[in-house]
Symmetry: C2
Subunit: 308 residues, 2 copies
Amino acid sequence: METCRRNVDLNGGIHLPNPHIATMEEDVLYHFALGTKSHDLKKMFGDVKFVCTGGSPKRMQSFAYLLVEELGHQLPAGQTLVNITKATDRYSMFKVGPVLSVSHGMGIPSISIMLHEIIKLLSHAGCQDVTFFRIGTSGGLGLTPGTVVITEQAVDALLKPSMEFAILGKKVTRPADLDRGLTNQLLDCAMADDHFQTVLGKTMCTDDFYEGQARLDGALCDYTEEDKMQFLREIYDKGVRNIEMECICFAAMLNQAGLKGAVVCATLLDRLKGDQVSTPHEIMSEWQQRPQKIVARYIRRQLGISSK
Amino acid sequence: METCRRNVDLNGGIHLPNPHIATMEEDVLYHFALGTKSHDLKKMFGDVKFVCTGGSPKRMQSFAYLLVEELGHQLPAGQTLVNITKATDRYSMFKVGPVLSVSHGMGIPSISIMLHEIIKLLSHAGCQDVTFFRIGTSGGLGLTPGTVVITEQAVDALLKPSMEFAILGKKVTRPADLDRGLTNQLLDCAMADDHFQTVLGKTMCTDDFYEGQARLDGALCDYTEEDKMQFLREIYDKGVRNIEMECICFAAMLNQAGLKGAVVCATLLDRLKGDQVSTPHEIMSEWQQRPQKIVARYIRRQLGISSK
């Protein structure tokens, strides 16, 4: 991919597509409460190879503890994981060996801020060959709830495979392709004896959970159930298998920065059958661990840690 | 205002512009972990008259404690405030008498979910005559940092005074006007002996903190400092005094639901002089309390509580 070659040097280091950063005396990563003068980012983060991100701060903490187990990570006696960004409440961030587990909040603007700052952080830290994963939740289309969808193409709410950014008062369109090789390797991490299905599909990214996703149960709604079903069936026919609120920004920003990433989401309900998310907490909690397990397997394989 | 008359009954109750809600047996407010069957919303929230919202969960907790003082709210011995939505980590919510203090996260999608669910909550609870406030942070334009801006008109990143929603695969434009009377009453709550300025201005709402706000310090940037300054001066000349990431959705959704609200933000820096937010924490913390004080004064006046 041309973008990749342009922004990543021969050693796999991250070259920011922003010439201004190199001229700055200090870079304050405001929403992480970290900075190049206040923190030794190279020492703290220099070994990072994987960035895993999802909406909820607590879920990303649980994922960090899952990684401790899955990677056989040894925490010294009397030590535990700590939220690296605890000086702020905008995001949470945990580190387990070469893996960062970071929350991104809900929606494109929130993940956009996180990605700007994490990409700068990795660049300041001199990280090389970093792979990104969004591990999220979504509404499924025509799938048994709890099914995992690996995104083969992110599309926006109008079904376009690109993202429109508003920059200096003008709209700028950027491609939002994801790395096919990585997507296929992840699919290969699904196992025959998993008690859930993992499938490839298009993922629609919207700016709203209610009207934006054709729900009938928001505070505002001026369309009928027939309108809703017609829209959902239409996007199903075009290959959309789940709907969430971040993937197109994740794909477009990584593309622009020459980095590779994948989107792996659990589906919490079948939108062809309803709108409300009302499955008991314990069951949804187990569903949310499924994409985590797939990504943890991938990381284990990359690190040469044998499966358990 | 026509919309108001349509959606609010003679008693000031909230009529949801969504006929489907009345037909639902149960309504799960998923992102609050509250519901019409699991909770007695009327008992919990029936007396709410003011909803105050801002990005950070901790800031909305601090605001709740400020209200305890400002409203002379008596907490029984051995009791303290508790986060009502503590079963989820998507938002935080505190209640002090007739005031709800709720976080909304960062960006339009995040505040949109919160507003859908809070408007439904208030309607289920039978609340009447509710006023909304966004109490936030922003980047200022041509103002001393720490200045408070009350939004007289929300505009989007292309300077339009309306919001584009994507609904069922089509773009729908909705007005984003704020209540002039409320805005002026709030301005009247600024006092001559405040050690900060409070001004009226247009507020620009963007979907990104870096490129979306013409910053040079994001991970991505392909414009020059001259391009940036030209854009910021142009929007300043058109009346924009601060830039944030939620106001246009706040205004458009309240408009559509026939509810009134105001946006009051502290400015954390002057964007005509820089991009980085690097003021010491203690100073910014005091700045962030300024809009809270203005809104607390307004609420005190409405409740007939004499000033201290």
